[in-house]
Symmetry: C5
Subunit: 254 residues, 5 copies
């Protein structure tokens, strides 16, 4: 996982929303262009950028370490979620990936499909010397609240048990409860999932600070950066929190 | 994708309707004969022709670049649509294909089956140096209106993210909304899907002009050409719009 | 397909009913014995005989070209029909097959399973230099009338599009409507499916004549021959119609 | 199949009930021990013994030809039966098998799963020079009476058509109706399935005599031998009927 | 199985609950850390430790023989249980495993999925010289009481028949009924499953004593050790019972 860390911390720019949510849900005329995101990743000094294979093939410029998401689905189908492999580890590597990502909808009636595939992805990635990063999102009929502390901790732990080098999980809303999730992840690195654009910068930065204080390794962020009017300014604030452990109050004063 | 472009634009003649819709739905005594279509493709200076493997094997004459459709279904079964591989990339190549096509019913409860297969098709085609073209049709219980701008844009984007070199999508009905879909497709080429025979030539030509004005690379057309009383005359009109950017009004006056 | 044709016409003796319908539905003490059928095939000068692999292995004598049916099901299960591979192309060849057959229940909710398998069968058979023959029977909830002209034509066309060298389809009941099916099949050869024993010889012979007049290549017949009290006499009548284009009226007079 | 025949007849000792029915359903303190059964097989001069792979691996002593059952299920799940491969042909051979067995629940909604697997088993076994024996049990919603003559004959015939060297089927209850099943099986050998312990020895021996008189090759018996107070005495009676064609009346007098 | 036995007896420390039940269900700040469990395994002289691959990769120190659990699921999904492969035999070996474990939910509507996978696991493990250990838990709609003697015996027997070198089964509650399960397992070793933390030490130790008296080979224990305030003291008591056959009364007095 060291390829994606700086001083043991990481800040990943994620851009799979065009596939997972659809362009009209999340994009404007500017951020619909993957080149815009590649540019932010580079200028914002991100330690990694996350693309699906099609974006990687046509837009990746090699300036920031690449994670290719190996599975995907659209937001259109109803019912229990399932997301299956659309890109092999081998193809990801051929596109320049230094790591691979895979989403597991824990608790879905189709959970076993994704656990089995991730098991294979992890084995193949490790054989190739690449980290396997698990996006673990509890979802489906059986999951009432996907940010409940015990659910987030379960997601973190499932990642550790499955051999994920890092897990991307949602924030629980409080440092203390997120600390339990970080403990559950053990030696797997924890990346907080940025989620939808927060109402104010302060709200989001406080969440990131909370996660870092709880022991997270870093952040995987998308909309809160590239939907921001000043993405590089937001990124600078994030860097301060993640890599320099800045106190949020200082931040908002500074 | 250059094999199927002339001056960066493309005009594909599609003829998979005998499988997808049935011969009695779309054919008459003339156009039921694949040789008739092969002839139009050649005389009409199409930049590509699209056949299923059986037609390709028995009727393809090598005069126009060939795209073989790799999956297919009939229109008979009810329920959530699924279309699976009936021809391998390898077999398509042995039939003379310079590109492969695959249909994804986005939003179907079986979406994951097709996303996974297309992912493999794309990888194998690219290894062989062939473009992979995605016919992306949102369909199924979850899709209320398959020409709604945000749905068409989603189709376009899913193609880009999946690594399609080109996407074939339906027209949204207006240049402005189709421009958003073209933007969503990014560096994937956009081909407007011809659809059923339009009530008048003008209606159809206006759609094509609208798509080209929105930035489309071209058109994949079937019924509006080979159901036409004068297919080569219609083709000439299409060529003017696609390759010479003719103004439609001039066209209908000329 | 030439292995199974004489002067461009073909007459196949089919004997898969023990598996597909059960012995008690179709057999008597005589025709339950596959050796009896092998004998008729040889003495009746059939251009091909159709067996499942078990019959081929134990009873085939090499005197008539062999088609091995690669998939099968019993008539017992209810619900949407599905018939999957029970014999590989390779095994069929090892049993002496010069062609392979595969049944597709078009319109079944399981249609995609059979389309995909037939696609593989066709590819493998053609690599080995064998024709692939599709038994195409529209069936399932979505199919109201499996001899409706547009349904039979759809079956024929699906065979052509899938790369079948020949299709076995039901008779529509009239020459004119069957001619449309033959046109839909294009360069795929059309074999009329014999079906259950007709009430009189004349009825059956009239159907065969109708199919041949419509352009069929031949007939795949079972029960109307081997349930017949005088199978070789019936076969002689069929030969006259199929290979010599005899007029039926002459026949019944003669 | 000759490995399991003596003078063209066979007597197999089956012992898969611990898996298929559970130990508490069929076993006592003595016959729960596979060594007890191995001993009966040897002392009783059986022409074959049938074990699942685990029993074969730990208890088979090489003194009687071995058939390994390749698929299995417990009696616990409700719904349409399905039994899938738990032992490969290759593994069976490594355990000393001279033949392989596979159960097909004909008529089950899952029938196609088992037909396809048996098709592969048969091919692989024959490549290795081993006979493939089909346990064919019509079962599921669609099967009202699994010993009805036409159903038993269907089972027999399906085995022949699928390439089984021998079929194990239930007794129909009468010689005449079982004779039809034997005819349906053609050159596939018919083994009567012993079934649950009969109320009296005479009842069971009469069934076996009936089956042999109908042309069966032999018997696959389990509970009627190893649940018997004197298994070797019962076995001696069976041997007389199967190999010496003893008249049952002589038997019960003698 | 000898790698995991001492004087023919075994005591395994199981730690897959973080995956199977979730960290919040079973862990506290101490035992959430796999290093704590690895330490207990070593200091407590366990004959084996059971981890999922992720824990094995990051925490296994080589001091106690390792069993890697090859399949897994979370407790979140409702409906008939299914647990599929997440780690190959090959990967387990690369992590240092000397044995592999696999859970079968006997009686589940998905039973066949797990029986088939375990069949493959057993074959591959034995080829590599490793024992295959089956966790057999009857579960699902069809199973009313998973500790009923006949159900536990069925679990044991299924393991033997499937080729398991050892089975892990629940205690029936009494020595006599558990003895029947041990008999059913035959030459497969029986490990009692520890289950949830017992109300008192005496309760649990009495169960273990009961199982050992019934002929069990040993115990696979988790929560009753690592949720214990003094895990090494509890372990010492278990060792006395398992390896020295201590009488429980002596134990509680001593």
């Amino acid at each position: 996982m060291n390829s994606f860390l700086r001083d043991g911390k990481g800040m990943l720019l994620a851009y799979d929303q065009g596939f997972e949510h659809g362009p009209s849900a999340d994009f404007n005329d500017q951020n619909i262009d993957p080149a815009y995101i590649m540019d932010i990743a580079q200028k914002g000094d991100f330690t990694g950028v996350v693309f699906h294979k099609g974006i990687a093939e046509k837009y990746y410029n090699g300036k920031v370490p690449l994670i290719v998401k190996l599975n995907g689905k659209t937001s259109l189908p109803k019912g229990e979620p399932v997301s299956t492999i659309v890109c092999s580890v081998e193809e990801a590597i051929s596109l320049g990936a230094k790591g691979v990502g895979y989403t597991i909808y824990l608790g879905s009636a189709n959970e076993s499909v994704m656990l089995e595939e991730f098991g294979q992805v992890e084995e193949e990635a490790h054989e190739e010397g690449l980290p396997a990063i698990a996006w673990i999102y509890p979802r489906g009929e059986a999951v009432k609240n996907d940010t409940a502390p015990e659910i987030v901790a379960y997601a973190a732990r499932a990642g550790l048990e499955m051999g994920a080098d890092a897990v991307k999980i949602k924030y629980t809303g409080a440092t203390d409860s997120f600390r339990w999730a970080v403990k559950a992840a053990g030696l797997s690195k924890v990346f907080m999932s940025g989620g939808p654009k927060a109402p104010t910068d302060e709200t989001f930065l406080a969440q990131v600070k909370g996660a870092m204080d709880a022991g997270a390794t870093g952040l995987a962020v998308g909309r809160n950066v590239w939907q921001h009017a000043e993405p590089l300014k937001m990124t600078a604030s994030l860097r301060d929190i993640i890599f320099r452990g800045s106190n949020l109050e200082n931040k908002s004063q500074g």
